[in-house]
Amino acid sequence: MKKFINKVDDILTESLSGFALAHNDLVSLHLDPNFLTRKQLAQNKVAIISGGGSGHEPLHAGYIGYGMLDAACPGHVFSSPTPDQMLAAAEAVHTNKGILFIVKNYAGDVMNFEMAGEMLAVGHATVLTSDDCAVINSTYTTGRRGVAGTVIVEKCVGSLAETGASLQACKALGDKVNSRTASIGVALTSCTVPAAGRPTFDIGDNELEMGVGIHGEPGRRREAMREADAIVKDMIDAILADFTSRNLGPTKNSEVLLLVNGLGATPLMELYLIYNTAAKLLVDAGLNVTRSLVGNYTTAIDMAGASITACLLDDEIKQHWDSPVHTPALRWGC
């Protein structure tokens, strides 16, 4: 393992401190329990709080700020944060309009947020994100994982919350965006959890993992490495099949937001190459790609690989995607 580390146990605190220092116009960091809030706390709106294991930067702390999150709770690397972090964050940012937790659908995150909710005296609701179509949903599993589509949910819900909308309305929009979003990831290499010190899984130079999770969990299948167009076609096919299986159409000229997300060690040059193919394939399928985002938005530490996310837009989602946002990792319109 070759990484920028002083002491393995200090990675998280030192990284969070650097993040807070670099963005001290936007965020404040609180340690023990660890959580981050906006520098200027918002008034009279639903407080939007997210959190999850660290190692997915800029998720979630990078999305704190106007038009997105009010607070984020970072856990240890790839491990859910704890209820006391969530309660402290809630205490710091809640106003009179309730709290909305945005939680990626992983057992640890779900259970810890659930426990925090049970201990919370303030009105609250939860949006569970589950956009990863690599895991087939069924009644006998914990279901689909939440991955890069979470960024779209956080952006849209954050925008609606700024208008003073109710907790119920914010939850409804979050659930809607999630229900119209599908993602799939592919890994070319493993990631290395710093405390483990070695790659999470073995993968040959001539192999890829299709459907990989953002913690390096194995996906649908191990495949031979191929040219990019063939890999991207399989990913887009999976997303379109998922939309069809969920009766979402899509109908001709449906508008789509296309997010090509790097998993940590794949350069932008390749992400744009993926975008080029993915956009063409969606157009070939009769869709209208009218919004796009390309970059590292939900990473898996140092994994080489990428995920593709498509969100079927409607007027409401478009309005909240386009609205001004000012966070460390996402900024436009203001």
């Binding site: 240890h76 690397v77 859910s80 057992a107 259970m111 599993t141 390096g216 969990e217 649908r220």
Partner: protein, 209 residues
Amino acid sequence: MKTTFILSSALAIHAAIVAHEADIESLDRAIGDGDHYINIKRASEVIAGMYNELVPLPPDEVLQKIGTKLLSSIGGASGVLFASFFMEMAKVAKINGTNNKLEIAAAFAAGVQAIVQRGKATVGEKTMLDVLIPVSTTFTLSAAAGKTTAEICQALKDAADIGLESTRAMIATKGRAVGLGERGIGHLDPGAKSCQVMIHAVCNLILKD
């Protein structure tokens, strides 16, 4: 069950987890996401480090403090599940006491039931419960049958071994391994493995006395 026994168990568990690092880690690398050993080791270290704080307290308060500490310092699924176990065990221990085998078995069963409820999982889903539920059932039945301490400990170790081995053929329907589907067949569940290691550690401690 005395406070000193709980604390000796915590030290024995910590030592056993560290001794099984390679086993647990390789299982988690195969079907998990590589952080289970780190979390379990951190948890057992934190609890072992509370020795001086806990030693003057009665057993139910010790269990409660272990639970709240796990809840606030570990994270992940294992943190909240083990926290639920200890907090529920503490509740039952406080009401009914833990003065004999039946009462201890009842408190243990309540703790396992708290994991079932929090995790919404049961036997056969390739999780820690594939070890903990059979161990708990065996504990309750053998305590009710008036078995000796040595007999009970041996029965619990056997139940843990059989439960662990049963996860090998399972397709995971809970936890991080769900995405694997049939590819997980042939691998033991890392959470079940760490529980089996803990059950052995505590039983071996009792058998040694």
